[in-house]
Structure formats: structure tokens, C-alpha cells
């Protein structure tokens, strides 16, 4: 039975146990009901016997009392009364007999019966009537003696018989009562036994069954959970032994088969993984795997070597991020979040700290892996060291800035064009000084091409392969020029959100061209002096000295001697700069070069504008040669560019009105003295600038700006506005006047 139950599945097993408990409860209750039934039956028995006793006693009493009455009547010899009483006795006897019979019928079927009762009643019923008949017959015969004697003698057996009957029934009733009392006591004890024992057995059975069922389910479940947990941990050698034929046993065998297969697969996977790891460790790329929550899972050898830690140490990291450069962290985090949210591959450039504390740039490709439900499970990271490239790019970017400016200017003076004598003298100086690393100070009027000369020096120097950085010192606010030149640390000043390399650092190994050097504020002059003396400087806000190998070429159109004399320029700096001075002659002093320059610019701008200009109008050439060109070559260039744009034919010509007449005056009016000349030139210059500013409503740069109108670089104009003390704002507020 038990073994059969063992073979049951869990559901039927629960059902069987439940049925067993219900069965026990039923048994207990049936027993109780049975006991109560017995009690009731016992009462019924006693009642039935009591009824029998009552009936029998009544029979006896009636017989005896009527018999006594008959005696009395016999004595009084009243025949009629005797006859009535005899009839009365007969009917009473019949009724009493029926009562007894009825009481007997209602005795419980299993009750012990006095087998003498019915026969006795029958005997009495049969005997008494003939006896009464005999008495009446004697009385009719008036033999009252015989009547009395008969009555007297009849009574004895009748009494004996009915007494016997009553006695027997009484005995039976008392036996039954005694038995009933015993039974009641027994039943009471039994009920008192059944109630607690039923409850106890129910409790015990329920508990035992409950425990047994719980154990039969929970133990295998526990083992399955343990096994599964171990399996989840990767212990594929787990085996569970469950006996029986239920679902759990089946689950156990499935579990074992699964673990066996998993073990096999795991070994294969381990083997593949080992190979893969070996391969990954050998790759120069930095590879890592993160969990969905960012916890480290795997990193290849290259990565670990870079980070300077073992795999275990790395795995103990709760999250990566400590190695990422703080400046990049926000970007990296947002990139990762983007990768996680979109599920798409994201590439992030980031700096990662090396084991030794230094940072290197990496291009990290983050590839999220999702399961079939779309849930992110892994994040694969593949990082490539792009530090060199990044550094180069960074430098390149800065260099590009410089180059772009340079190109702008190069577009003007990319080539020194001319064969005039004064130019040849300059070119000779260039040729001599270029191969040296000597500091060169280039002076000359605005637009004479000081930067072209500087470029030419760089191109012919040993540093020609490195950067040429050009800085217009007048273009920067005095507060920013130091930062521009020397760079700054993060947070060095308001707005310094990142560390920035200065122009000197960018020019390291190359040449730096400091245009309008005369505009440098005093503190920057000191710093520049230090660079010139010691070849080192500190970033703004920084403490670390940075050494650079830079050739310095400075230029100015100001009279530095006057500035030194006036105290606005440091003399020691001036002398440091003026190691090799080169003065560039103004265009008016090299009129011979104008035709070449015209041809050169026409070719340049015609090509740019897509026009075909084959020749130059002679008048135009003459006009150009006769003009004084206060703006020097830059002015010439602008006039030609404008003309080329407007030129509709293959013959180049200019509108005379484009060239102011003042130069003629300027050329013809002779200055009284050198000082007078300078003053007049300044006045003239101031007037022209103010005129241009007025036209441009105070705007300096841009296509409609005063610089464009005057045909001079913005920097030059700014410098002149400053030096001539022109209030440019005046033209902004009053555009009409």
C-alpha cells in the first residue's frame, strides 16, 4: 500500500493523504454518532422493558384485584354482580394481555426476552375464561361453597403464575437497568476516550501526513534548489538522487541529464574560451566585458597590463570608471547610457589612466548585447590606443587654427614677388639669417608683407618641417594674450574650463611669429622675455615650467625705439628681439615690382573667379605705378581682386576713382622735415581711418568693415586705431555724423 502510494505523483499523493485524514475523521465521527446511537438505544431498551413491566404489573394487579372482588361477591352470593365482574375481568384481561403483547412487540429485537411472558399471558387468557365460566356455573347452581372454594384455590396458581411473570420481568428490567447503567458508564467513558483520541489521532495523522508530504516535496525541492544554485555557480558536477516516480524524481533525473550535458558543453566552452582568451590576450586591442549593471566580467591581458592589475583585482571592482579621466567621465557615461538605452554600438574617445597614473587616449567601441527579450546582458568594450593619433590631432587642430590664419595671410603674400633692389636686399638678409635660430625682428609699414617674410624665414630654416605659429598680439585683449601664448591650466581663470596648450607649446620644435609685438602688455613682455632668455615658461595658472624649442620671429609697424623711449615697451625685450632686424621697404619704394605683382594677383584672382584675363590695360598699369600705395601690397591686392571680380573682358583695367587722389598730393607735397612727415602721415592716416570707420559705422572687420574699406588687415587697423587714439565707438553711436 505504502509502496504503491510512493509511486504516486504529488497530486494523487496529496489526494490520498487528504482522503486518509477525511477517512479518519469520518471514522471518529461515525464512532461518536454510534456511541450516541447506543446511548439512545439503551434508553429505548430500558423504556421498552419498563413498558413491559408496567403492562405485566397491570395484568397482575387487575387479575388479583378483580379476583379479590370476585371473592367478595362470592361471599355475598350475588350472582348478577358476579356475572358482571366476571365479564369485566374477561375484557380487562383481554386488554391487559394485548398491552403486554404490545410491550413485547416493542422490545428491541436484540433484547433478551423472557420466553415465559407470552406463553404465560396466553395461558392466563386461555385459563381464566373457562375458570370464570366454571365459577359462574357453580354460582348458577347456587353452590356458593364450591364457588368460594374454587375462587380461593384458583387464586393461588394464578397469583403464582402472574407473580412469577412479574418477578421475571422485574428481574429482566432490573438486569436491563443494571446493564444500562453499566452501558451508560461504558459509553460515557468511551465518548470521553473517543473525543480526545479522535482529536489526537486527527492531529497526529494530519501532522504526520503534513510533515511527510511536506518533506516528500520540500526535501527534493531543496536538493533541486541546492543543485540549481550550485549549477548556477558553475558546479556542473552536481548530481541529485531522487527516488520514486513523482514529478520531482522526474525533475531530478532531468536535472542530472541537464547537468551532464551542461558539463560537457561547459568543458567545450572552457576549452574554446581558453583558446579565445589566449587569442584575445595576444591581441593588441584592449578588450573588456561588462555586465548589464556595469560590473566587470572580463578583460584581456593587454587591458590588464595597461591598467596594471590582475584579472581578480579588476573583477573585484564594482564598476569601472575609476580609470577614466575625470574630464571624459561625463561623456563616457552619457555614451554608455546611450549605448544601453538604444542598444546600438557607440564609439567613445576617452582617456584612460595607465597603471603608472598617466593617461592615454583610447577609442572605445561599446557594443551592448541583448537577450531574446531585449534585455541588456553584456557590454563588450573594445578599445584602441589612439593617444598618438589624438595628440597629433590635438596639435594638428591647433596648428590648423594657426594655419588657417596663416593661409588667409598666405593668400596675400604666399610668395615674395619682385625684383627690385630694396626687395633683393631684404631677400639677401633672409637668406643669411633663415638657417640660424636667431630671433628676427621684422619692421615695415602695414601691408608690406612682414608675415610673408617671416614665413620665408621659417621655410628656409631647419625647423621648416615643424609648425609655423603666427600670433597677432594686437588681436587679443591684454588679459587673454598670455593665455593665448603660454596656455592655461584648467580653472586658471573664469572660462578656463579645460587645460589649453599655448601657442608656444604648439610651436614647439617650430617657429612662432609674433606680429604686432609692440602691442604686448607689460606682463606678457616679461614672460616673453623669459622665453627668449631661458626657453621655458609656465602655463597661466600652472606651476610647472615647460621647456620649448621655438624660433621667435617678431614683427611690428610701430616705432619700437619710440615705444622704448616712451616706456611702453621693455628695452631688454626690445634688444632681445632685435637680434637680427629686417626692414621691409614700402611698395612706393619698389615701384618696379608693381607690374609683376599686378600680373601675379590678376592670375591668382582670375583663376579663383574663373575668369580669363589675358592682358593688362597699359593705362591701368601706369595708374597703378603712379599711385603711392599707402596700404602697400595689401592695398594693391585688394584693388586687383575687386577689379578682377568686376572685370568683364579679357583685358584687365581698373576704375581710376578707386584710387584716391590724395596719394598724388601726398607724393607731390614735400614734407618740411622728417618729423613733419611723420606727423602729416599720422594725420593723414587718422583721417582716412576715421573716414572709413564713419562709413562702416564704427565696424572694424567684416566685408563692410573699415579694414576692408581701407584694404588693410583687421589687426593692422586695430593697431592703428589704438596708436592713433581713435575712438571707434564714436562712429557707432553717431552713424550720420
Amino acid at each position: 500500500m505504502i509502496s504503491q502510494i510512493n509511486q504516486l505523483k504529488i497530486g494523487p499523493r496529496l489526494m490520498v493523504s487528504f482522503a486518509a485524514i477525511v477517512w479518519l475523521m469520518l471514522v471518529g465521527n461515525v464512532l461518536l454518532v454510534w456511541q450516541f446511537f447506543l446511548v439512545s438505544q439503551q434508553s429505548d431498551r430500558v423504556s421498552a422493558f419498563a413498558r413491559e413491566l408496567a403492562a405485566v404489573s397491570l395484568l397482575q394487579t387487575d387479575i388479583l384485584s378483580l379476583d379479590a372482588r370476585l371473592d367478595l361477591l362470592a361471599k355475598s352470593e350475588d350472582l348478577d354482580a358476579l356475572g358482571r365482574e366476571a365479564r369485566n375481568l374477561r375484557s380487562i384481561l383481554s386488554a391487559d394481555g394485548e398491552s403486554v403483547r404490545d410491550a413485547l412487540v416493542h422490545l428491541p429485537s436484540d433484547a433478551p426476552r423472557d420466553i415465559g411472558v407470552l406463553p404465560t399471558v396466553e395461558a392466563v387468557k386461555i385459563t381464566l375464561p373457562p375458570q370464570l365460566d366454571a365459577v359462574i356455573a357453580l354460582a348458577v347452581a347456587a353452590d356458593w361453597d364450591a364457588v368460594r372454594l374454587r375462587l380461593a384455590n384458583e387464586k393461588a396458581p394464578l397469583e403464582a403464575s402472574t407473580s412469577d411473570l412479574v418477578r421475571n420481568v422485574q428481574r429482566q428490567v432490573s438486569d436491563e437497568l443494571a446493564h444500562s447503567v453499566v452501558q451508560h458508564e461504558r459509553l460515557k467513558r468511551r465518548i470521553l476516550l473517543i473525543v480526545p483520541s479522535t482529536a489526537l489521532v486527527m492531529l497526529l495523522a494530519s501532522t504526520l501526513l503534513g510533515l511527510a508530504i511536506t518533506r516528500s516535496i520540500s526535501d527534493p525541492l531543496r536538493l533541486l534548489v541546492q543543485g540549481s544554485t550550485a549549477l548556477a555557480r558553475g558546479d556542473f558536477d552536481q548530481r541529485i538522487q531522487l527516488f520514486g516516480n513523482d514529478e520531482l524524481a522526474h525533475l531530478g533525473s532531468v536535472f542530472n541529464e541537464t547537468t551532464t550535458k551542461l558539463r560537457e558543453l561547459y568543458r567545450q566552452k572552457q576549452s574554446s574560451e581558453a583558446e579565445l582568451r589566449q587569442m584575445l590576450d595576444l591581441t593588441p586591442q584592449y578588450l573588456g566585458v561588462l555586465g548589464a549593471d556595469g560590473t566587470p566580467i572580463y578583460a584581456n591581458r593587454a587591458s590588464l597590463d595597461y591598467l596594471g592589475m590582475g584579472l581578480d583585482e579588476w573583477l573585484q571592482r564594482k564598476q569601472i570608471g575609476e580609470e577614466i579621466h575625470p574630464d571624459d567621465l561625463e561623456r563616457v557615461v552619457s555614451g554608455l547610457n546611450r549605448a544601453l538605452s538604444t542598444g546600438s554600438t557607440v564609439e567613445i574617445e576617452e582617456r584612460v589612466r595607465k597603471g603608472d597614473g598617466s593617461f592615454r587616449w583610447f577609442l572605445s567601441r561599446c557594443n551592448p548585447v541583448r537577450d531574446e527579450n531585449g534585455k541588456m546582458t553584456r557590454l563588450y568594450l573594445a578599445s584602441t590606443d589612439i593617444h598618438d593619433r589624438k595628440s597629433a590631432e590635438e596639435r594638428l587642430q591647433l596648428e590648423n587654427v594657426a594655419l588657417r590664419e596663416e593661409i588667409d595671410r598666405a593668400s596675400m603674400f604666399e610668395e615674395i614677388v619682385g625684383t627690385s633692389k630694396p626687395l633683393k636686399a631684404v631677400l639677401s638678409q633672409i637668406a643669411k639669417v633663415a638657417p640660424t635660430d636667431s630671433t628676427v625682428l621684422i619692421t615695415g609699414e602695414t601691408g608690406t608683407g612682414k608675415e610673408v617674410i617671416a614665413r620665408a624665414l621659417h621655410k628656409r630654416s631647419r625647423k621648416s618641417g615643424r609648425a609655423f605659429i603666427s600670433v597677432n598680439c594686437a588681436a587679443f585683449a591684454p588679459t587673454l594674450i598670455s593665455s593665448e601664448l603660454f596656455g592655461h591650466e584648467k580653472g586658471a581663470f573664469t572660462g578656463a574650463t579645460q587645460r589649453r596648450l599655448g601657442r608656444f607649446e604648439l610651436a614647439d620644435g617650430g617657429t612662432i611669429f609674433l606680429d604686432e609685438v609692440g602691442e604686448l602688455p607689460p606682463d606678457t613682455q616679461v614672460a616673453l622675455l623669459r622665453v627668449l632668455q631661458e626657453r621655458e615658461f609656465e602655463r597661466v595658472g600652472g606651476t610647472q615650467s615647460i621647456r620649448v624649442d621655438v624660433r621667435i620671429i617678431a614683427a611690428t609697424n610701430r616705432d619700437l625705439d619710440a615705444a622704448v623711449a616712451g616706456g611702453s615697451f621693455r628695452s631688454d625685450l626690445f634688444y632681445r628681439l632685435q637680434v637680427f632686424p629686417i626692414e621691409i621697404p614700402p611698395l612706393r619704394e619698389r615701384r618696379d615690382d608693381i607690374p609683376l605683382l599686378v600680373e601675379y594677383f590678376i592670375d591668382r584672382y582670375a583663376r579663383k573667379a574663373g575668369k580669363n584675363i589675358r592682358q593688362v590695360n597699359q593705362e591701368t598699369l601706369e595708374l597703378l605705378q603712379s599711385y603711392a600705395w599707402p596700404g602697400n601690397i595689401r592695398e594693391l591686392q585688394n584693388v586687383i581682386e575687386r577689379s578682377v571680380i568686376l572685370c568683364e573682358t579679357e583685358t584687365f583695367s581698373i576704375d581710376e576713382s578707386w584710387l584716391p587722389q590724395q596719394p598724388q598730393t601726398f607724393l607731390t607735397a614735400k614734407p618740411k622735415s622728417q618729423v613733419e612727415l611723420s606727423r602729416r602721415l599720422e594725420e593723414q592716416e587718422k583721417d582716412m581711418i576715421e573716414e572709413a570707420l564713419k562709413a562702416s559705422r564704427g565696424r572694424v572687420f567684416g566685408p563692410t568693415g573699415a579694414a576692408a574699406k581701407l584694404g588693410i588687415p583687421r589687426s593692422t587697423l586695430e593697431s592703428k586705431i589704438k596708436s592713433l587714439k581713435i575712438d571707434k565707438n564714436r562712429f557707432k553711436t553717431d552713424p550720420e555724423g
Binding site: I115, I126, D143, A160, S161, D164, I194, A212, R239
Partner: protein, 455 residues
């Protein structure tokens, strides 16, 4: 590394096994407690019911009770004795009713010697079961209880009609012997009656007998007929002989007694009434049943057992005769076992016990009869008793119950009615005899014939 884990539903099995031990036993334990005590554990001893004659003879009750208690002691079988009515017809009626009942009928019953034929289908053949006891019994008695070759009852008591008389009065009135003939009885009765009445005993009668319309009348009348040579109603050759002059004369003689030597109320007398009158000293002679031994060599003995005034002055003698001598009616009863008894073995056990006790009692009495005080006080009568052994045997008036079998009851009732009608003067004797003869022919289908000499 391998860590095999074991668990088995066997754990469940073990617990369940424990439970099965407890839970499985519990209902059995409880049930045994509950049902074990529902009924008395001690089995009830078998109770055998015994329908015995003698209910109307209360003096016999204590003796019988003692006997039955002895039986219970010896065998463990209880006996519940059932009372029987006074008259044999009523006894027959009760016996028949109880035997027909499916439940509660008697196991052992006393059957009047005249009824075995009537109750044949309800009784067990005891020939084999009581073979030992039968050896000791009088064969003539045994035959009275046979029917169709079956022995339906074992003789238990033997009664013979006898005459009781007042020894003191006989002596007083100068009679040395009790009457031998009805004529003598009539003379003696009339003389003593007159003498006693003269003394002032106005209600004194010469002879009391059983004149009520009951079987006792059959016994009285057949004794009259036997004395007159009037046959025994239906003879042993199954002829109806009742309508004969001798019988008619005997009835007429009896009719003559009424109002002369017997009270008019004698027509309502049964055994009890005649005894009552005799015992109170109201009569000189009375007809009564005398007991006899059932044993082969049993002596006639008187069994007047009543502790009354009359006992010391009562003598017993045979029923007076006539020209052919007197005869006493054979009465008594045998023990039978009901065919329907659920306790046949116990019933036979009781029967054997009673018979053995009776045989032993008879034998003791036979050897001690001479020492009985009752007999000593009536020497002549005792003498007569002692010497009447052969005559009693020879002069038994046997009712035709054997010949008529199941019809005996009807035969007897017809006979009683006829005789009683003659005694009451309702009919004259020849008329009554003729009518009776006719009725008996109708009842039995037997032919008519003369009384046989030897019966």
C-alpha cells in the same frame, strides 16, 4: 567535487509507515473498545422453556422448582417453566397455539396421554434419543404415546381414576371396606349423607365427581361404562360402540345420583371443585386421580399430596365396578420435545433428566410405600392398594385417543356434550347415545359395533 545529494520519497514512506502503525491500529483499537462492550461478554446460558402440566396443582410448584434448579446446576441449562390451563382441552389449545408460534413456543412440553395423536406433526420422535430411559419404562404406557410408529412422548406421570373416601365416616357408619360396586357406593353414600345431614351438616353429600362439560366427564363416564360393560366409546377395532344399552344404563345411573347423593352443582364440577368439597368435609366419596409409577414394576400408589384436614381421614380405592368389575381411567402425561425447538439438544437433556428423576423417585417410593403415614391410617384401603396392582393393570379404562388420533378432541367433545346433556336432563340417554353414535360416525368414519369384551 562530485556531491551527490540523496533524497527519497522513502522518507515519506517511513513516516507513513509509522502513521500506518498508529493510524491503522487506532480504528481497530477504538472499534474493539466500542463494539467489544456493547453486549454482555458472557454468553447467555441456554434457556429451555417447559410447558408443564400441574399448573392447577400449586402444591407441586415448589417441588418442581427445586427439580429444575437442580437441572440447571447440573447442566447449566436454564429452564423457564410455563403454566398450563386447568383443563386438558385448554392445555391442548395452549400447546397448539404455542407450538404454532414461530418464536417463544415451548421446547419441552408435557402432553396429556390423549393428545400425542393430535400434536403429532409438532413433536420429535424420541425413540432413539431416550433409548436408555425407555428400557426402564412400562411398555403399555409407552404405547399410549406412539403414533405412526413414532414415540412422540415419554411417559412421565401416570394417573388412574380412583375413589377417595372418608375413612372416619365409613368407620363411623359401620363399613369395614370401601365400596366395590356402584350399588354399594350409592347405599353407603346415601346413608352417610343422611346421617351427616341429620347431624346438622346440611350441605353434606354422599359422592362428588366431575360433572362439568370437560374431559374429566369423559373419564368419569367411561369408568361408569366400563363398570356396566358399555365399552369405551370406540373400540380397539375402530368401531363405534357407544350406543349400547349398558352405556346408556350407566349414564342413567349417574343422572340418578344428581340431587340424590351428588349435589346438583356437580354438573359444574371439575377436579378442583370436587376436591374442594371433599377436602372441606362436604362429601363422603369423591372421584379423584391417583398417581402411578411409570416404571415397569411400579406399584399403584396414592398421591394425595394435599396438606388438608382430609388427608388424615382419606382413603383411596379403585373406582367401583359393576357386573364386569370396575375400571379406572388411565390419565397422565408424557414429556415431548417440540419439533420447532431451537434447543433440541438441551430439550432432550431436560427430558432425560426429568424422566430419570421420575424413575428414581418412583423406585424410591415403591420401596417405601408401606411406610407412608397416609396408608397406615387407612389400613384397609392401603391393603386394597397394595393388592390391586394386577387389578389396576387389568382394569384401566383407556380412552380411544389412540384409535381416533387427531380426531380424538372432536370425539371427546361430542361424547362430553352427549353425556352432559343426559346428566342435565336435556336429553334422555338413548336419544343422546344415538345422536352421539351418528356424530362419531361422521367424525371418524368408523363403523358401528358392539363393545368388545377385552377392552
Amino acid at each position: 567535487m562530485s556531491s551527490a545529494r540523496r533524497c527519497s520519497v522513502g522518507d515519506f514512506a517511513v513516516v507513513r509507515h509509522k502513521f500506518a502503525k498508529i493510524g491503522g491500529l487506532w480504528p481497530v483499537l477504538l472499534l474493539s473498545l466500542i463494539f467489544g462492550g456493547c453486549h454482555p461478554t458472557k454468553p447467555e446460558p441456554t434457556t429451555v422453556s417447559y410447558l408443564r402440566l400441574g399448573w392447577a396443582q400449586p402444591d407441586d410448584l415448589p417441588e418442581m422448582e427445586t427439580l429444575l434448579r437442580q437441572f440447571t446446576r447440573e447442566t447449566g441449562i436454564r429452564v423457564r417453566d410455563l403454566p398450563v390451563p386447568e383443563t386438558t382441552f385448554d392445555q391442548l389449545d395452549l400447546s397448539r397455539r404455542l407450538l404454532k408460534q414461530a418464536d417463544g413456543g415451548p421446547d419441552v412440553l408435557a402432553v396429556d396421554v390423549i393428545w400425542p395423536g393430535v400434536l403429532e406433526s409438532d413433536l420429535v420422535d424420541l425413540r432413539h434419543d431416550m433409548a436408555d430411559e425407555i428400557q426402564s419404562l412400562e411398555p403399555q404406557l409407552l404405547r399410549s404415546y406412539e403414533s405412526d410408529g413414532k414415540l412422540l412422548a415419554i411417559p412421565y406421570t401416570v394417573q388412574v381414576g380412583v375413589l377417595q373416601y372418608r375413612t372416619d365416616l365409613l368407620r363411623e357408619y359401620g363399613y369395614q371396606h370401601p365400596p366395590k360396586t356402584w350399588d354399594e357406593l350409592e347405599n353407603m353414600a346415601a346413608r352417610i349423607q343422611a346421617g351427616e345431614r341429620t347431624k346438622g351438616n346440611k350441605d353434606f353429600w354422599g359422592y362428588v365427581w366431575q360433572g362439568a362439560a370437560a374431559e374429566a366427564l369423559t373419564c368419569n363416564a367411561i369408568e361408569w361404562q366400563a363398570a356396566a360393560g358399555g365399552g369405551r366409546i370406540i373400540e380397539s377395532n375402530r368401531t363405534i360402540s357407544v350406543n349400547n344399552p349398558a352405556a346408556i344404563r350407566s349414564w342413567q345411573r349417574a343422572k340418578h345420583w344428581i340431587g340424590w347423593i351428588s349435589p346438583p352443582s356437580v354438573l359444574a364440577y371439575q377436579e378442583l371443585d370436587s376436591l374442594n368439597i371433599f377436602d372441606k368435609g362436604g362429601a363422603a366419596f369423591g372421584r379423584i386421580w391417583g398417581g402411578a409409577s411409570i416404571t415397569r414394576m411400579g406399584l399403584f400408589r396414592q398421591m394425595h399430596w394435599r396438606n388438608s384436614l382430609a388427608q388424615s381421614i382419606t382413603g383411596y380405592t379403585t373406582i367401583p365396578g359393576g357386573s364386569t368389575g370396575g375400571a379406572g381411567t388411565l390419565g397422565g402425561s408424557g414429556l415431548a420435545v417440540s419439533q420447532h425447538s431451537p434447543h433440541r439438544r438441551e430439550s432432550i437433556e431436560l427430558g432425560r433428566f426429568l424422566i430419570r428423576t421420575q424413575i428414581h423417585s418412583n423406585q424410591v417410593e415403591e420401596s417405601a410405600v408401606v411406610d407412608r403415614p397416609g396408608f397406615r391410617s387407612a389400613d384397609s384401603a392401603s391393603e386394597a392398594s397394595r393388592t390391586s396392582k394386577t387389578s389396576v393393570r387389568a382394569r384401566l379404562a383407556i380412552r380411544p385417543s389412540g384409535e381416533t388420533g387427531p380426531q380424538y378432541e372432536q370425539v371427546a367433545r361430542a361424547y362430553i356434550d352427549a353425556v352432559h346433556s343426559v346428566l342435565t336432563g336435556e336429553k334422555v340417554a338413548p336419544e343422546a347415545a344415538a345422536a352421539l353414535e351418528k356424530e362419531l360416525v361422521r367424525i371418524t368414519g368408523f363403523p358401528i359395533g358392539p363393545p368388545l369384551k377385552g377392552d
